[in-house]
C-alpha cells in the first residue's frame, strides 16, 4: 500500500463575486501600467507612459478643482430615467461614489440633506 503524496492545500477556486485578475497582484501592477489603452504592445514605451501620466495628472487635478469650485453652489444633476434635480453641492467621498448635497429639490419635496449615488449621475453643471 503506497502512501499517497501529501498536499499543502487544494487549488483555489474562482471567486463567485468577481471575474478575478486581481489588480493588486504583483503581475498586474508590473504589467498593466496603462489601463486606458487596449494597446497590443507588450513593450512599454517609457515616453508614451510619461505623456499619458502627465495627461492623467492634469485631468485629475482639473476634476478635483471643479469639486472645490462647486462647494456650496447650486448644481443641476442630470441622472438616469430622465431625472433632473437641483441641489447645493457639499462634498464628494474619496472614491467619488457619493455626493453629499443639501436642499435637494425633488418632485416630492425638498430634501434637506441627501446623498446622490455618483453612478446614477450622467452629468452635472453649475455656474462659476
Amino acid at each position: 500500500m503506497r502512501t499517497p503524496m501529501s498536499v499543502l492545500r487544494l487549488p483555489r477556486g474562482p471567486d463567485p463575486n468577481s471575474r478575478g485578475f486581481d489588480p493588486n497582484s504583483p503581475r498586474f501592477i508590473a504589467l498593466c501600467s496603462t489601463t486606458i489603452s487596449s494597446s497590443t504592445d507588450t513593450e512599454t514605451d517609457s515616453v508614451q507612459i510619461g505623456e499619458e501620466q502627465c495627461a492623467r495628472s492634469m485631468l485629475r487635478e482639473s476634476f478635483l478643482r471643479t469639486l472645490i469650485a462647486m462647494t456650496n453652489k447650486q448644481v443641476q444633476f442630470y441622472m438616469y430615467e430622465r431625472v433632473k434635480v437641483n441641489a447645493v453641492f457639499g462634498a464628494s467621498d474619496i472614491d467619488v461614489l457619493n455626493f453629499q448635497v443639501s436642499d435637494l429639490q425633488t418632485p416630492i419635496g425638498v430634501q434637506k440633506e441627501a446623498l446622490l449615488r455618483c453612478q446614477d449621475v450622467i452629468l452635472y453643471s453649475f455656474d462659476l
Binding site: P11, R27, T40
Partner: protein, 331 residues
C-alpha cells in the same frame, strides 16, 4: 519510498473542459488556460492550479484556448462564431474576430503578432493582431471542419488537423500544401513540440509521433482505450495520454512501455498537456474539472509536499544537517 499520485483538482467550470494550454515560463511563473463548454475560459497559475480570473464575453461554448509565451495575451475560439483575443493580465477583451462558423482552434506566433484560427468553415485564417481590421490571410483546402491549426517551423509553416482525416502542412507565404498525412479515422488531437520538431497525433487508440518538418513517422504506441489527447514531456522521456476510459496513462517514450495509469476523472479525458518545465501535466475532462498530476510522484513541487514518515524524515534531516522536525505521515 514509492508514493501514490495525488492529483490536484481544479474546480470552477460547470461543463466539460475541452481544451487547455500552458504559457511559457515567465517571471511570474507559468500559467494555464482552460476552454470550457460553459463559455467561460479560465486562467490559472500553472504550478498550483489557483484560479486567477475568468474571461467573460463569449456567448457560446469555448472550444479552443491558448496563451502567448509571456502569458500577457490569451486567445479563445468559440461556438459563437468568434475568436477573441484577451489581455491575460487584466482579463479584458481586446479583439473579437468574427468568423462564418464555429471556431475550434487558436494559436499565437512566437512574437504574438499573428493569430491562427481554424474551425468548422474549413478555412485556416491568419490575423495580424496589430491590424485587426485588415482582412485575414485565408488558407483553404480542407474538406471538413478543422480541429486544430498550429504554427510550426519558426512560424513559417502551419500544421492543421481536420475531420477529413488528414493532417496537412502548409507554407505560410505561398499558402500551398507542402505535405499531407491521411488516416483511416479522424485525428482527435495534435501537439507540436518546437524543440526537436516533434508532432504528437492521436487517433483511435493510437498515439503517433512524427517529425514535424518532414511528417515522417517516428513511432506509434497503442493504448488500452480510445485516446483523445496526448502530450510529450519537454525532455522527451515520457508522454501522457488520456481518453474514453477516464484514465491518464504515462508511457516511457523510448521503450513505449506503459509505466503508470491513474484514475481520478469522472468522465472522458479531453485534453492533456505537460507544463513547460515538465514537472506536472494537466488534464481536462468531460466531468468539468482540470486535474494536475505530478510527473515525478513524491517530489516537493507546487502544492505537493513530500512528507516522510517520522524515522525517515529525522534521518534525512540529520543527513542534511538541519534539526529534525516531526512530520505526520498520511496513510
Amino acid at each position: 519510498m514509492a508514493m501514490r499520485q495525488t492529483p490536484l483538482t481544479c474546480s470552477g467550470h460547470t461543463r466539460p473542459v475541452v481544451d487547455l494550454a500552458f504559457s511559457g515560463i515567465t517571471p511570474y511563473g507559468y500559467f494555464l488556460i482552460s476552454a470550457c463548454k460553459d463559455g467561460k475560459p479560465m486562467l490559472r497559475q500553472g504550478d498550483t492550479g489557483d484560479w486567477i480570473g475568468t474571461f467573460l464575453g463569449h456567448k457560446g461554448a469555448v472550444w479552443g484556448a491558448t496563451l502567448n509565451k509571456e502569458a500577457t495575451k490569451a486567445a479563445t475560439a468559440a461556438a459563437d462564431f468568434t475568436a477573441k483575443v484577451w489581455d491575460a493580465v487584466s482579463g479584458d477583451e481586446v479583439l473579437t474576430l468574427a468568423h462564418k462558423h464555429i471556431v475550434k482552434s487558436v494559436n499565437f506566433t512566437q512574437d504574438s503578432s499573428c493569430l491562427l484560427t481554424g474551425g468548422n468553415d474549413k478555412t485556416i485564417r491568419i490575423y495580424d493582431i496589430n491590424k485587426p481590421e485588415a482582412e485575414p490571410q485565408e488558407i483553404t483546402g480542407h474538406t471538413s471542419a478543422i480541429k486544430k491549426a498550429l504554427w510550426c517551423n519558426n512560424d513559417t509553416q502551419i500544421l492543421s488537423a481536420a475531420d477529413d482525416k488528414t493532417v496537412r502542412l502548409w507554407d505560410r507565404t505561398s499558402t500551398a500544401v507542402v505535405k499531407q498525412l491521411s488516416f483511416d479515422m479522424s485525428v482527435s488531437s495534435m501537439e507540436y513540440i518546437p524543440d526537436g520538431e516533434v508532432l504528437v497525433i492521436t487517433y483511435g487508440k493510437t498515439i503517433a509521433f512524427y517529425n514535424a518538418l518532414s511528417l515522417d513517422l517516428i513511432k506509434t504506441v497503442d493504448a488500452p482505450a480510445s485516446i483523445h489527447s496526448a502530450s510529450l514531456h519537454p525532455d522527451k522521456d515520457f508522454f501522457v495520454a488520456g481518453g474514453d476510459d477516464f484514465k491518464l496513462y504515462k508511457y516511457d517514450y523510448s521503450t513505449k512501455e506503459e509505466l503508470e495509469s491513474y484514475k481520478g476523472h469522472f468522465g472522458p479525458v479531453h485534453c492533456v498537456r505537460f507544463s513547460p518545465d515538465g514537472e506536472l501535466y494537466a488534464s481536462g475532462s468531460e466531468d468539468g474539472t482540470l486535474r494536475l498530476w505530478q510527473t515525478e510522484v513524491g517530489k516537493t513541487y507546487g502544492l505537493w509536499k513530500c512528507v516522510l514518515p517520522d524515522f525517515l524524515s529525522q534521518l534525512s534531516c540529520v543527513l542534511a544537517g538541519s534539526p529534525p522536525v516531526c512530520h505526520i505521515a498520511i496513510g
